[in-house]
């Protein structure tokens, strides 16, 4: 009997300690619907996360799982696309916009029960900024080539000093996980932090401030997370989040297989649905008790791009010859006008997509410039432009360049994307109407990337990019002439054209402009230039299509990644009716 009593007291200790801690902890009260604790949720992922280490994670699957295990100082609310307090309770900005002081929540604990304070923040940013660690987050903390300075003012106050005013400063903190210094400092000092927290690390050694903690990892099969009893959010009734007891990520490699698993009830959430699969699932919503959601155009943009890299000269003569066409803006404009974007929206996406004029989709409400018109297909206008650029047609309606050569090129497309293959086929048919012979070449994804980024051995490509955030800052890498992913002309030392020089200036200017209205005006001008010069011929942005079991509470799909489970801590199962 005494033994049983002792066992009961021991078992209840963490809960007693937890309830005592609630009084001392600086908890965040959410505004979502209060839910019911308990239950499990299974989510299918295309592949397993590569690591549990947020410092070296670079793949979406790792981000998805790690964001449940870890927490950041300031977080972007995926539904509102705005920043909100997380581990930082509040913050203030200096008048010159360079100093950013954060007040941390007091009394919080990591998932192993150890306390959290400013030393953990300092340690985390030391790791992220260390060049030897090769963290992908480091780029975010280097402004104009200079590092962000991090200081501890007291145990719960930290100051970040930026080398110059930095407009998206609050958004930088989203996704920068605060690491447990008490666990990782030894690894860091031994120069092994990059190798820490692999899929084989014992679950109890992986610790964070996220809503869940690792329970089990079966490589290649599933990752099981359990609720973190020390999590720092409570609902409007004062109930500690998360509601779910377990969150499981299972590996289901293809979308078709994911659809089948979802239909069978093996997984309760599905995201990234193609419009075709959405249409196939739609009639079964009532009988199988799930609900599909169309969250509207996301941040993905698909485009046709010509190879304008200058390093092909002398190396790839055929591409060099064709670049005379590609570099002429009238040719690009004519191609853009020949493409039936509404046809792509209708046939490839079943009207669940938006035609684009630039890379900013209508889903990006804060930055979308609605005054830039989406090109409407006009073959006469396209022909006029081509004629003005010195092109002509022979009796067979074949387009000939000024030297009498037929205009013919290949369009490379990743074979793994059914939608982009369909887009390429439609573009091919559209271009035939103005006498251009385009060959669609589906090619394995890695090989396509190699040609795009390294060898530059391609003529045109249909591809898509997904912006990680609604803010213009991540576009810097693509739009700036010396950007790492300035895809249409990689390795450009100085702007090759006056409009690229203007783009460079505008992108730098928006980065240091703190006033939203002024910043929006600058970014509108960026969009005007892109729509006019068409370095990429923007085509469509697909809608974010997802689904969930109908009794899943607080399910609010978003258009920013982790579309469906970004608020996993708030998700709960409605009890069956009558209970």
């Amino acid at each position: 009997m005494r033994l049983v009593l002792l066992w009961c007291v021991t078992a209840l200790l963490p809960f007693l300690a937890g309830s005592q801690a609630v009084a001392q902890e600086d908890l965040l009260r959410t505004t979502s619907d209060p839910g019911v604790r308990g239950g499990k949720l299974v989510i299918a992922q295309r592949s397993e996360p590569r690591t549990f280490n947020p410092v070296v994670a670079i793949d979406q699957n790792s981000y998805g799982v790690n964001a449940r295990l870890q927490a950041d100082l300031i977080h972007i609310n995926r539904a509102t696309q705005k920043t909100e307090p997380a581990l930082a309770k509040s913050w203030s900005v200096s008048k010159d916009g360079t100093q950013f002081t954060l007040k941390l929540r007091r009394g919080l604990r990591f998932s192993d029960g150890q306390p959290f304070d400013a030393d953990d923040v300092l340690f985390s940013f030391k790791v992220y900024l260390d060049e030897q660690v090769h963290s992908s987050q480091r780029d975010l903390l280097i402004i104009s080539g200079k590092r962000v300075k991090v200081e501890k003012l007291d145990a719960y106050t930290v100051r970040f000093t930026f080398p110059s005013p930095y407009a998206p400063v609050e958004r930088v903190f989203d996704g920068l996980a605060i690491l447990p210094r008490h666990l990782l400092e030894k690894d860091y000092q031994a120069g092994k932090i990059g190798q820490a927290w692999t899929l084989n690390t014992p679950p109890e050694k992986i610790v964070g401030l996220g809503a869940f903690r690792l329970k089990q990892a079966v490589p290649g099969d599933r990752i099981v997370l359990e609720r973190n009893p020390y999590y720092w959010k409570i609902d409007s009734k004062g109930q500690r989040l998360p509601y779910l007891d377990e969150l499981t990520f299972v590996v289901v490699p293809t979308q078709d297989a994911q659809v089948i698993r979802f239909q069978a009830g093996d997984s309760q959430i599905i995201s990234g649905l193609s419009a075709d699969n959405y249409a196939a699932l739609e009639p079964e919503q009532k009988t199988r008790h799930f609900k599909l959601y169309d969250a509207g155009p996301g941040l993905e943009y698909n485009f046709l791009m010509f190879n304008m890299n200058s390093d092909v000269e002398g190396r790839l003569p055929e591409i060099t010859r064709k670049q005379k066409w590609f570099l002429d803006v009238r040719f690009r404009q004519a191609v853009s006008l020949a493409i039936d974007r509404s046809g792509i929206v209708r046939l490839v996406y079943r009207n669940r997509a938006a035609a684009l004029a630039t890379h900013v989709s209508p889903g990006n409400k804060a930055w979308f410039d609605s005054s830039v018109p989406v090109p409407v297909r006009s073959l006469p206008h396209a022909r006029e432009l081509l004629k003005a650029a010195g092109f002509s047609w022979n009796a067979d309606n074949t387009l000939l360049d000024s030297s009498g050569q037929p205009v013919e090129f290949s369009i490379m497309v990743s074979s793994s994307s059914a939608q982009r293959n369909q887009i390429a086929t439609l573009v091919q048919a559209d271009l035939k109407a103005i006498g251009i012979s385009a060959h669609v070449v589906p090619i394995e994804g890695r090989s396509a990337n190699d040609r795009l980024l390294n060898t530059h051995d391609y003529e045109a490509i249909v591809m898509g990019l997904v912006s990680g955030d609604a803010d213009p800052a991540p576009d810097l890498n693509i739009l700036e002439s010396n950007g790492q992913t300035h895809l249409w002309h990689l390795g450009e030392k100085t702007p090759a054209t006056p409009w690229e020089a203007e783009l460079d200036q505008l992108m730098q200017k928006q980065l240091v402009t703190l006033n939203y209205q002024q910043r929006k005006q600058i970014y509108d001008r960026v969009q005007e230039i892109l729509a006019q010069q068409l370095p990429m011929i923007y085509l469509v942005s697909p809608n974010i299509l997802v689904g969930a079991q109908e009794n899943l509470g607080n399910f609010h799909p978003a258009i920013i990644e982790q579309y469906t489970f970004w608020n996993a801590e708030e998700l709960f199962w409605h009890p069956p009716a009558g209970k």
Partner: protein, 355 residues
């Protein structure tokens, strides 16, 4: 009348040997339809009707919406619902009768004759999609016929490659024997052992981007054919080995005939029946090889159809569960294979009965 040589005599139809059956007529008919695809098909293989993606096979009517019977078959104009592209509604007020020899998309037959006249069709805005449409609104029936040009042609050309290569190398090996025979046969065994599927994937991957889909396809066909020459070569060698000791060959040699003359005039004609059977066996195998390659995206590219790349669309779950007509290209090779196998069997039996 010129008497038949021993090589061809085996193909004569007599009461004691099996007759060529339906297979020959069927194969002739299907090859003729495919060769004349431009004329038989109501549309071009690349014509997209973007208002009719995944349209069901068009229903031919004899009875109209008001219940009145018509002797002449007709179709209704259909239109997709605004909010549901799978829901095509027929307009009872707009009909179009089936017409013979109407004008339509231009085409060329065998690269020689150009025309715009088709065997049958309907007037716009009505459509005649006998096997429905794909996701681009392209007529599946028309694409199936054009696709047959690729798939059947691939099988035939690749088999011809194999047989010709087999005849040359097997003939030389059988005739000369010794080291020549050893080298040629080890070479043949090597090609038999080569995992052709992986070889084809490798070859396709090495091809540059800039070549046209047709060129890429022909190269792949050439590889299928050249990899497949090993078996015919061994068969030919066997026939030559036994035939070179026969009296009429020895007599010819006694009169001073050279090896080359003996091969050309007396021995190679003896392999004709064996090779014909081999052709009938290899063609369906190679058609299937092309279908598999195209199914996996390694064959001919868009917009050109082949039975394999048409069927590839059915790999997608939504196609599989929603559009049954997209599976029809998978059925097309079945009667062709059966006919070829029946033909091969008949040839085999005729050879046996002749022996």
């Amino acid at each position: 009348m010129k008497p038949l040589t021993p090589a061809f005599s085996g193909l004569r139809s007599t009461n004691s040997v099996p007759r060529f059956t339906w297979a020959v007529w069927f194969l002739l008919a299907i090859h003729a339809m495919v060769a004349l695809a431009g004329f038989v098909a109501p549309y071009s293989f690349e014509t997209q009707d973007r208002e009719h993606p995944y349209a069901r096979p068009t229903r031919l009517h004899f009875v109209d919406c008001s219940g009145k019977f018509h002797f002449h078959p007709f179709v209704y104009v259909t239109k997709a619902a605004e909010n549901d592209l799978n829901d095509y509604q027929q307009d009872c007020a707009q009909t179009a009768g089936i017409e013979f020899f109407p004008h339509g998309d231009s085409y060329t037959i065998l690269g020689m004759f150009s025309s715009t006249r088709h065997l049958f069709g309907v007037r716009a805005p009505a459509n005649l999609f006998l096997m429905g449409t794909d996701g681009f609104g392209r007529d599946q029936f028309s694409r199936l016929l054009y696709g047959g040009q690729v798939s059947l042609f691939a099988g035939f050309v690749a088999a011809a490659f194999s047989v010709i290569a087999g005849l040359l190398l097997g003939g030389i090996a059988g005739m000369y024997g010794g080291t020549v025979d050893d080298v040629a046969m080890r070479f043949a065994e090597f090609f038999i052992a080569v995992p052709w599927f992986y070889l084809l994937i490798a070859v396709r991957a090495f091809l540059p981007l800039q070549i046209s889909p047709i060129t890429a396809f022909l190269l792949v066909v050439a590889v299928i054919g050249l990899v497949g020459w090993g078996r015919p070569a061994r068969l030919v060698r066997g026939v030559i080995l036994s035939a070179r000791e026969r009296n009429f060959v020895l007599a010819a040699r006694g009169f001073g005939a050279s090896n080359a003359y003996l091969l050309r005039r007396h021995l190679m004609p003896l392999t004709f029946r064996v090779l014909l059977t081999q052709m009938a066996v290899l063609i369906p195998q190679f058609i299937l090889a092309e279908v598999i390659l195209s199914f996996l995206g390694l064959g001919i590219g868009e917009p050109f159809p082949s039975w394999g790349n048409m069927l590839a669309q059915a790999q997608q779950y939504h196609v599989l569960v929603s559009y049954w007509w997209m599976l029809l290209p998978g059925l097309a090779p079945v009667p062709v294979f059966l006919a070829y196998h029946s033909l091969a069997e008949t040839l085999q039996e005729r050879i046996k009965s002749n022996i």
